[in-house]
Amino acid sequence: MEEVVIAGVGMHEFGRFDDKDYRDLGFVAAKRALEDANMSLNEVQAAFSANVYEISAAGHNVLEKLGVPGIPIINVENACASGASAVRLAYQAIKNKEYDVALVVGFEKSPRGFLPGAGYDRWQEWTGLGANPLYFASSIHEHMVEYGTTREQLAYIASKSHKNAVHNPYAMFRKELSIDEVLNARMVSDPLTLYMLCAPNDGAAAVVICNKKVAKSFTEKPISIAASVLETRRRGDMFVPAVSAPANPPYPTVAERAAQSAYEMASLGPEDIDVAEIQDVDAGSEIIYSERLGFCPIGEGGARAEAGETSIGGRIPLNVNGGILSRGEPVGASSLGQIAEITWQLRGEAGVNQVEGAKVALSHSEGAGGNSCVTILTR
């Protein structure tokens, strides 16, 4: 079993780029990741793409622009967790000596408005149940009812995100927003206002994954993959597009299961994590997942955030570069963007938003289909 590292990362800015197609976006991210790894596509032995909305051979079409070396290419679609799922395939293949170097590239041109295609049946769509925000809003509303989480705490999360994003050149929204501005924004799906929900957008990110021994000839700053996990929901998670769930499931949520597997794989615990990018697809999700990933007790996520524990300088800084709320979510690229950001954190290259001395970082992505990925990196 080989040790596996990240040898390079690269991103194309997340935003709206009407004059570029997915090939252009993916090309830039892949090019930057390869440059960061001091490699060309000739050094890559297998590639995995992560994308939701293109139809066919999308990864192939992106990589053509960087060379046509004839390597195996696999296109992966796992909704919001597409990128991290593809990383897991690459990680497993390198760990098992199938390859020494693999490239993972995620890219997306998200449709405008509510995202279609999350797997709803026709009757769900017809009757208004086919709306992702409905799921996010219900989850956090139940959290509010049960634990006293407040609208102000939700607004605090969104405001923190926007403040963090000011210095992130890859983020779509780089303007500070006050708690009042967040609360007074248009209500999309009560209690979630416009600024408490992420915007699907365009973007790309790429990661070069490498056998640790081989990486030495290319880079002096490899970052180790200590865990790469994909779990899928059990019935207790009423995740998009599920309609029902048992009232009191006797087992953990998918985020808890993925985190637990990842912590075991890395021989680490939540207390060892210095910085994390977690699936803040909405402000409520950041609160809920901060608990499920073990960063604070269940029910206390909102209060802990409001107390500054998850801000830069706090006990466990979350989404320190603005997260999905401010980067926006180019679905296939999103979780690779997280991995790029925490790689920069562990290398000490994160600039203004650097978490000092970060040694262990975690990325968590979760989405339609009930996919939950947790990746732990160490330097």
């Binding site: 017809w126 149940l129 709306a131 509303h141 309609v243 009232a247």
Partner: protein, 140 residues
């Protein structure tokens, strides 16, 4: 006034409604008791073809809810509308649309009754759907 030739459910097998009390139909595992809505033949837990359809109590507790103001893809009804998760005494939680347009009419924990009501009218057909109606408000 739109002319309607027939009433049809948005999907067969979701609920009882014609000439009888509105009730949701869930599938229940004869082996482990797991319930799932909409019904399906395999048990989500046992992964075996052990499910049979049963109706559940038409009244449950509202756990949480939200209000949607912009029409999602494929939606054929009007906005705004509210939706919520109701927990039934049998131990299953089911997401559904409520009869209310405003969240001010909804309270966490309140009792909701399953009714069958118009979802939309299309091609001279009235499509019907189950909805949750607050029990306190305008009971028969």
């Amino acid at each position: 006034m739109v002319y309607v030739k027939e009433k049809v459910p948005v999907k067969e097998g979701l609920f009882k409604w014609q000439d009888e009390e509105a009730k949701l139909i869930v599938a229940k595992c004869t082996k482990c008791g797991e319930m799932v809505f909409p019904q399906q033949s395999f048990c989500p837990e046992c992964c075996l073809e052990t499910m049979e359809p049963v109706t559940i109590n038409s009244i449950g507790k509202l756990k949480c809810f939200t209000r949607i103001t912009a029409p999602p893809p494929g939606y054929k009804g009007s906005v705004p509308y509210t939706a919520g998760i109701v927990e039934f005494p049998e131990g299953i939680r089911i997401l559904g649309i409520t009869t209310e347009k405003e969240v001010v009419n909804l309270e966490p924990g309140m009792e909701m009754e399953v009714i069958v009501d118009t979802a939309f009218i299309e091609d001279e057909k009235e499509y019907v759907m189950f909805k949750y109606k607050p029990v306190s408000q305008g009971e028969d």
